[in-house]
């Protein structure tokens, strides 16, 4: 006999609201239905009623974690329509912001995963580490969440203390190598909680079109920084970690290894940061954008963020389409929990690293 368990919209695993209806037989999950939209703000509608400068601030509110990615992807789209060439120094600073944001996001996720696994000491360690990254983001941008760094043609603040960034990177990497990665990759308790559960096969991942670390943990080799390079990623050396097991442990390992790669990219960006301006002028304060459609995408911490911006020659966009990674990834959860134990369901859904603020926009 089967029975249904409604979980949410206020969820035990995450602070964001969504609802999951699980159909179980005994302790085994046989079906899952996902309900979203509890954070729906219709930011796309709002973006078509504000001028371009206002939309930068608006889209930064799509997500409280990868806020920089949203304003940056919007700026990249508009810069294409304007034909703007962004100075090299600004490109490196944008890379640094993206990788600091990835560190912040992955470490936050690692902390939440540790808590759900039952490893609260690691949760505290991760959140202490994350604080260092947020302090650095604040030192650079003046803000801890919505950084306000991007403008059309570059960035609004410079990085003047590269050694400060490097010292944080060194400290983070040391903690990752000494404690976080060994725990997530070799600890028997973590392995027993994560290995072999929540499996998404490569075929399922491809059928759903999932993106980011979730896809890479299922053997799908895709990373826009390498495959569709933007900013100055093609000048930087880094690996793209891929696992093939497709389970919760594989997602842990991929994200842990990506943290090390982000540290490496940050070091290179600070080492190679060229002299020069941090932005080019766009002229009039109320920017009018030539008619046309441009697209841009970025490898955000959770995967591909995609923007399509259509201009009609005025100072207000005609259309701003935003596709966030969780929108692509979360439907796969309905496959990942099939056959799982009910008690594993919270960890499986958290392993996708969902963001409902992004999904609901």
């Amino acid at each position: 006999m089967s029975y249904r368990i409604p979980i949410g919209p206020f969820h035990p695993a995450l602070e964001e609201p969504y609802k999951l209806d699980l159909t179980c037989e005994g302790e085994t999950v046989r079906a899952a239905e996902l309900h979203v939209g509890f954070n729906f703000r219709d930011i796309e509608y709002l973006a078509e009623r504000r001028n371009y400068q206002q939309v930068i601030s608006l889209v930064e509110r799509v997500c409280g974690i990868c806020s920089n990615v949203h304003s940056l992807t919007f700026c990249l789209s508009v810069e294409r329509l304007l034909g703007l060439k962004v100075p090299d120094r600004a490109q490196y600073i944008r890379v640094a912001m993206c990788e600091l944001e990835r560190l912040h996001s992955h470490i936050l996720w690692a902390g939440i995963a540790a808590k759900l696994i039952g490893f609260k000491t690691m949760f505290m360690a991760c959140f202490a580490m994350r604080e260092k990254v947020m302090d650095m983001l604040e030192a650079i941008s003046g803000n801890r969440v919505n950084y306000g760094m991007n403008c059309f043609g570059g960035v609004v603040r410079d990085i003047t203390d590269t050694s400060g960034v490097l010292s944080v990177v060194d400290a983070i990497e040391k903690e990752l190598v000494n404690s976080v990665i060994p725990v997530f990759t070799t600890n028997p308790t973590v392995r027993s909680r994560c290995a072999g559960i929540g499996i998404l096969t490569r075929e399922q991942a491809q059928a759903m079109g999932i993106v980011g670390p979730l896809a890479r943990a299922s053997g799908v080799e895709q990373d826009l920084r390498r495959d569709a390079s933007y900013l100055v990623y093609d000048r930087l050396k880094f690996e793209v970690p891929v696992q093939t097991d497709g389970d919760v442990r594989a997602r842990l390992v991929v994200r842990a290894l990506e943290l090390i790669e982000s540290c490496s990219i940050l070091r290179q960006a600070m080492r190679d940061l060229p002299e020069g301006p941090i932005a080019v002028s766009t002229g009039a304060p109320r920017l009018k954008v030539p008619a046309g459609t441009a697209v841009a995408r970025i490898e955000a911490p959770r995967g591909e963020v995609f923007y399509s911006v259509t201009a009609n020659g005025t100072d207000v966009p005609k259309r701003v389409k935003i596709r966030t990674p969780t929108f692509a990834n979360m439907p796969a959860m309905q496959w990942a929990v099939l056959g799982a134990q009910l008690s594993d369901a919270p960890l499986i859904q958290a392993s996708i690293d969902p963001c409902y603020s992004c999904t609901d926009r």
Binding site: Y45, A207, G209, D227, V295, R323
Partner: protein, 145 residues
């Protein structure tokens, strides 16, 4: 899309299409390759693109002056974005969600924002909106200022 762009009436869905020739109607600009045939069979496009290992990134819907909705199907092929542009007829389009599971949420969202009906679906359950709310939330026509 550019007015000067070639507009083939029908697309040949064979591997030669991915050679992205201007003669076939492809145009590279603003971050993607674009093609806007006179008519587009979304199901033939989807079968073809999936067979090539492409990933459906999303579909951008945008209201035109006549109230019909322009649909841009964005595909990723080995790091390159290919966009197929078409338009609804009588606010209806053909669903591809049975061929491509990732299209399910995309079509449901477009239905809610622009009241596009996707034919061939078993149902179009609410996604962002609560049950009972009217579809067409982002349509401009008839909008009060």
């Amino acid at each position: 899309m550019s007015d000067a762009m070639p507009m083939p009436e029908t697309l040949r869905f064979d591997p030669g299409l991915l050679e992205l020739r201007a003669a076939d109607g492809w145009e590279q600009k603003n971050g993607a390759w674009w093609i806007a045939p006179g008519s587009l069979d979304p199901r033939a496009m989807t079968k073809f693109m999936l067979a090539q290992g492409a990933r459906l990134m999303t579909v951008t819907a945008m209201e035109g002056d006549g109230g019909e909705i322009r649909l841009d199907y964005h595909w990723d092929v080995k790091g390159v974005i290919l966009t197929f542009t078409t338009q609804t007829g009588a606010n209806t389009a053909i669903s591809v969600s049975d061929l491509c599971p990732g299209a399910d949420w995309i079509e449901r969202e477009i239905h809610e924002y622009f009241a596009v009906e996707f034919s061939g679906r078993d149902n179009t359950k609410p996604l962002m909106l609560r049950p009972g709310l009217e579809a067409g939330l982002n349509r401009r026509q008839g909008e009060k200022s």
